[in-house]
């Protein structure tokens, strides 16, 4: 079983539209949405949820003001300024370290586990799909990413699927690190803008840092041909094979607005031929 994770550094470069299109081209893939912060793949693939699971991770302190003697030790020890002068914990600032809970001599601090979100096992028209919703303003997105990837891998192993295609989060931090570790390869979807290139370089460096082979494709490559040229050169110099480029094509957005994949919306759209080519090269490289 192979896992391809689609990432970009910069958000909005077309990761999810690309994953939706690739889901249709791949042979019986398992799909995984690892952008647990702002999951969108389900909006195109409209999966039927078969199992819904609670995601509990981390703890948040809460002080029982009746037991509290206002000794102030917790405020003194908290490095996150999460305990207000009136001994009420600000759950948004609480890091879940438990230092106040551990040191409170009165046993006035409760430290319950958080329900931080949900994850789902589902079926969509292209195969099984695992996705999640992290609660608003929650931490531990990396742990939830790890959960959905593990569950997708389990399904793939159990039912003999050749590939897991994972829609990754933007950026280079905690959730992205959790999304790419141990993957067979990452596909970086970038766009020919200074921002797109800048963030692509950072995420390519991240893939190298964690020794995950990286491939690259350029979305809307004709928006700025000279930056596209620069991106291809960078890719060549840094051993990140460029597997193709997609022209600017309104069908990309229009298909999303109709909750369809690019191929479902218009199989003759110019972007379709480009995505087919990308898939053919990807399959050779990853599988």
């Amino acid at each position: 079983m192979k896992e391809l994770v689609v990432i970009s550094g910069k958000g909005g470069s077309g990761k999810t539209s690309m994953v939706a299109a690739l889901s249709q081209l791949a042979d019986k893939p398992v799909l995984c949405d690892a952008d647990v912060d702002a999951a969108d793949l389900h909006l195109i693939l409209s999966p039927n949820v078969k199992e819904s699971h609670e995601f509990t991770a981390g703890h948040t302190a809460a002080i029982d003001l009746d037991k509290c003697t206002r000794c102030g030790k917790c405020i003194e020890l908290c490095r996150f300024n999460a305990i207000r002068p009136d001994f009420v914990v600000d759950p948004l600032e609480c890091e879940g370290c438990g230092v106040c809970y551990y040191f409170c001599e009165e046993g006035a601090v409760a430290f319950p586990e958080n329900l931080s979100g949900y994850w789902y096992i589902s079926d969509c028209r292209f195969g099984p799909m695992v996705y999640a919703k992290l609660g608003i303003a929650e931490e531990n997105s990396g742990k939830l990413v790890t959960v959905v990837r593990k569950e997708a891998a389990k399904i793939a192993e159990a039912d003999g699927h050749e590939m897991v295609i994972t829609d990754g989060p933007p950026g280079v931090g905690c959730p992205v690190i959790a999304a790419i570790g141990g993957a067979s390869g990452v596909l970086i979807v970038t766009e020919p803008t200074l921002s797109g290139r800048h963030d692509m370089e950072r995420v390519a460096e991240l893939a190298r840092h964690f020794s995950v082979p990286a491939l690259l494709c350029i979305n809307k490559y004709d928006l700025n041909e000279s930056i596209s040229e620069g991106i291809r050169k960078f890719a060549e110099q840094h051993n990140v094979p460029c597997v193709g480029q997609v022209p600017f094509d309104p069908a990309m957005t229009k298909s999303m607005v109709q909750a369809r994949t690019l191929f479902e919306y218009d199989p003759n759209a110019p972007a379709c031929a480009a995505v087919r080519e990308i898939w053919a090269r990807l399959r050779d490289q990853v599988v």
């Binding site: 969108d40 879940g96 607005v257």
Partner: protein
């Protein structure tokens, strides 16, 4: 006043709005808090002062004092310090810097080490003060670096924060306790879905907000309908335009590439000031 520019979904135009808004305010500061993928500097091209390395506190064990009692491992929620047989091991990458191990150690064997989480750069450009941070590649924890950038903003100045995408801890660190949040989205199902998440986030933080719809003619009306139903003021619509997209690709701020937009961004700032003043009275 601190205005933050946020969105659930990435790539909706946060940086486009933040840079042009900051350039339309007299002597403002732009603080780019998207430390994973900072882009504002590509548009503003500030002259930077030397980098400042940002670190956080992690435990460093003085093995001569350590009695291997295991109290440090018992308190650590993040598996960043463990005792195995006759040694104590630390995993600085997992450490959240809570100081629990140091406070718990009866032998006083835990000293303060440092882990580099990234850099902060200050600069000047076009009358703007600029600050941004860059997370070290491989570092997972963005919030401590974002909080460091926030601490560089003078409470008396007018500042615009370019926030990271999403709804979890990095966004909270970037927009918490700001005076107003400009939400930027696009009129598509992804834009709407992620806008709803961003609106929930802003509600939890109890910050007044307004909406900008970017590429306002590429999708459907559902975002505008949602905003009306939620009574979120629609501050601006930016239609899709190939010239704007190309200028963006070259790193040109909208108000510089298209001077007719300067007045609109000045009005945006005035509208935000009125909304903030109205909310306080």
């Amino acid at each position: 006043m601190i205005i933050s520019v946020a969105s659930g979904k990435g790539g909706t135009g946060k940086t486009t709005v933040a840079t042009s808004l900051a350039l339309s305010i007299n002597s403002a500061r732009l603080a780019d808090c998207d430390v994973e993928a900072p882009n504002s500097h590509l548009f503003l091209r500030p002259v930077f002062e030397p980098d400042e390395t940002i670190t956080m506190v992690v435990p460093q064990v003085n093995e001569e004092k350590c009695t291997l009692c295991g109290e440090c491992a018992a308190i650590c929620r993040f598996n960043a310090i463990v005792t195995i047989a006759d040694t104590v091991m630390t995993f600085p990458e997992l450490c959240h810097g809570c100081g629990g191990c140091q406070a718990a150690c009866p032998a006083g064997a835990i000293e303060e080490g440092r882990r580099t989480i990234g850099t902060i750069q200050h600069g000047r450009c076009n009358g703007l003060d600029f600050v941004h941070g860059r997370i070290r590649i491989g570092e997972a924890m963005a919030p401590p670096l974002i909080r460091q950038i926030r601490s560089r903003i003078n409470p008396d100045e007018t500042a615009v924060i370019d926030a990271p995408p999403g709804t979890s801890c990095p966004v909270i660190a970037a927009i918490k306790d700001t005076d107003f949040v400009v939400l930027v989205t696009e009129p598509t199902p992804f834009g709407l879905n992620d806008l709803k998440l961003a609106v929930e986030t802003v509600k939890i933080l109890e910050i007044p907000s307004g909406l900008i719809i970017n590429r306002s003619d590429i999708g459907d009306n559902k975002v505008a309908e949602y905003a009306a139903a939620e009574k979120i003021p629609l501050l601006m619509e930016i239609p899709y335009n190939r010239q704007i997209a190309e200028a963006y690709s070259r790193g040109e701020p909208v108000v510089e590439a298209f001077p007719e937009w300067r007045e609109r961004f000045e009005k945006l700032y005035a509208d935000i000031c009125n909304l903030v003043a109205g909310g306080k009275s």
